[in-house]
Amino acid sequence: MDRKSFLKKSVMAGSAMAAAPGLLAKNKMEIQAPVKGNSFNLKYAPHFGMFKNLAGDDLLDQIRFMADAGFTAMEDNGMMHRSPKRQEQIGTLMSNLGMEMGVFVLDKGGNSKNSFTAGKEEYTEIFLDGCRKAVEVAKRVNATWTTVVPGNFQRWLPIGIQRAHVIETLRKGAEILEPHGIVMVLEALSDTPDLYLRTSDQAYAICKAVDSPSCKILFDIYHMQRNEGDLIKNMDHCWDEIAYIQIGDNPGRNEPGTGEINYQNVFKFIHDKGYNGILGMEHGKAGDGKEGEKALIDAYVNADNFT
């Protein structure tokens, strides 16, 4: 048995990771956060409904609550389905409160629908139509990013052909978005094995091939922990194409601290990289009612408590 050579190799590989003193395990020292006036190192973006017990059902009240709590961004997957008037109200209120708009999902009929892998003109047209509509929505809500999921595998086509179809389709979409400064962010998902885009390296290669400032990666930490693990390493590999990040602990897809991911250190890594973008809170709550909503804020104050 020779673990000696292995030991040396590992020590060398890890020598750059200097000891960071002073941090305490979050489980040992939980902070009880106030409901108002928190100050975060990063732009965490809640969803509508997350604070409906504390803030009430009205969407604009919920935005005011988020701002009061200290959140400087918000994201809304279903924004394209809201009325233009509602979109404008949301956009105006958020800019008055100094909040940034996160992603909305670019509507192409559903995550698994009208898959780019097929290379079908009718599917591409549905996507491009979605791009044009997304530009209008983005203008109304002051958004920069819109989520794109390329769809399912087309099992009867060779994998390289599917990939080329995805790249060609995205290039056409980027042509529409680029003049408006809108960025589609590609999200690899773990929901079903039928979804074509599964891993961060795959998203990275596709973005490099599309080669547009309007086609970047949405790195969803929950999905990537389920599909590939090695979060910090993989984010580092893909860093120059990552424009957006989403959050969720695993298993359970709830707030940080409810699963196997040490979010405090993952956020520290993201912060140390100089990330100035948004981190969408695309997850549920472990607890119910007002207590669950307060616990969610506590979880972010704790996970954000890195030095």
């Binding site: 048995m1 020779d2 673990r3 000696k4 292995f6 030991l7 190799k9 590992s10 020590v11 590989a13 890890g14 990771m17 200097a18 000891a19 960071a20 941090l23 305490l24 395990a25 979050k26 489980n27 990537m224 922990q225 389920r226 599909n227 590939e228 693990g229 090695d230 979060l231 910090i232 390493k233 602990d249 695993n250 298993p251 601290g257 409810t258 699963g259 196997e260 991911i261 040490n262 979010y263 405090q264 250190n265 993952v266 890594f269």
Partner: protein
């Protein structure tokens, strides 16, 4: 100490500390085992009231294992010699490895392992010693190692169909290869006989300076009804290595 996790430590991470010094220190900390040790060390551990939760001494190397039929005669002789010694010493596991792929496909590797292990399972079953194949990452530390995914190891367990053949699930290695740790542990707990730790990335301390929330993983392990050991297998960066080790144990003592 909560006594829900039995704590062990891998000897090789503290090579510059003499074994007896290490044994004395870790037994005072609350460890019950020092592991990856052979027959010569077992009596020394015993002197300090320590067991060896994961013995070694029969394998050739990580790279040369049961997926290579040309090694079977030698490996079978080694394991047949060591297994009775393990039992005599009051121990119940012995580590084993798949070996590197060397261009073998998954299926051939499985078939070769089945052929090899079937030769020693009667001895393992007779002495009630469990062969534990370690899951290792093939991306960072052990390029080309074949047992680098849980599913492959579980398939091998199923084909062998013996309680005396299980997996050593290394949390560090599997976070690098797969992620999804807690679900994998829950779904496959019946196949797992032992756990190792380590911080990701870097294989250093398992504290807040890495990406795994170890207390949550430990709670999930306890929930599966696990009664075996969890061994600390990280390379401390801080000067006081034993303090790092103690902290690692505390993090896992849920």
């Amino acid at each position: 100490m909560n006594d829900k996790i039995n704590h062990s430590v891998c000897r090789w991470c503290y090579e510059d500390i003499p074994l007896e010094t290490l044994c004395k220190s870790v037994s005072e900390m609350g460890f019950k085992s020092v592991e990856l040790q052979g027959p010569e060390e077992w009596p020394i551990l015993k002197k300090y009231g320590l067991t060896c939760a994961m013995p070694w001494g029969a394998e050739k190397s990580l790279e040369e294992g049961f997926n290579d039929p040309s090694l079977h005669d030698e490996l079978v002789a080694n394991y047949e010699r060591i297994i009775p010694m393990v039992a005599d010493a009051g121990l119940d596991n012995i580590i084993c490895f798949s070996g590197n792929r060397n261009r073998l496909d998954d299926e051939t590797g499985l078939q070769n392992c089945v052929t090899g292990f079937k030769r020693i399972l009667p001895v393992a079953e007779k002495y009630n010693v469990t062969l534990c194949m370690e899951l290792l990452n093939s991306k960072v530390d052990h390029p080309d190692y074949q047992c680098d995914h849980t599913n492959w190891g579980v398939e091998l367990c199923d084909r062998l169909g013996s309680d005396q053949f299980k997996l050593l699930y290394d949390i560090y290695h599997m976070q690098i290869m797969e992620g999804d740790i807690i679900r994998t542990i829950r779904d496959n707990s019946e196949y797992i006989a032992h756990y190792h730790t380590g911080g990701v990335p870097g294989r250093h301390e398992i504290d807040e300076r890495q990406e795994i929330n170890y207390p949550a993983v430990m709670e999930a392990i306890v929930e599966t009804g696990y009664t075996g050991f969890v061994a600390q297998e990280f390379i401390p960066t801080q000067d006081d290595k034993l303090a790092a080790l103690k902290r690692g144990m505390e993090i896992c003592d849920v």
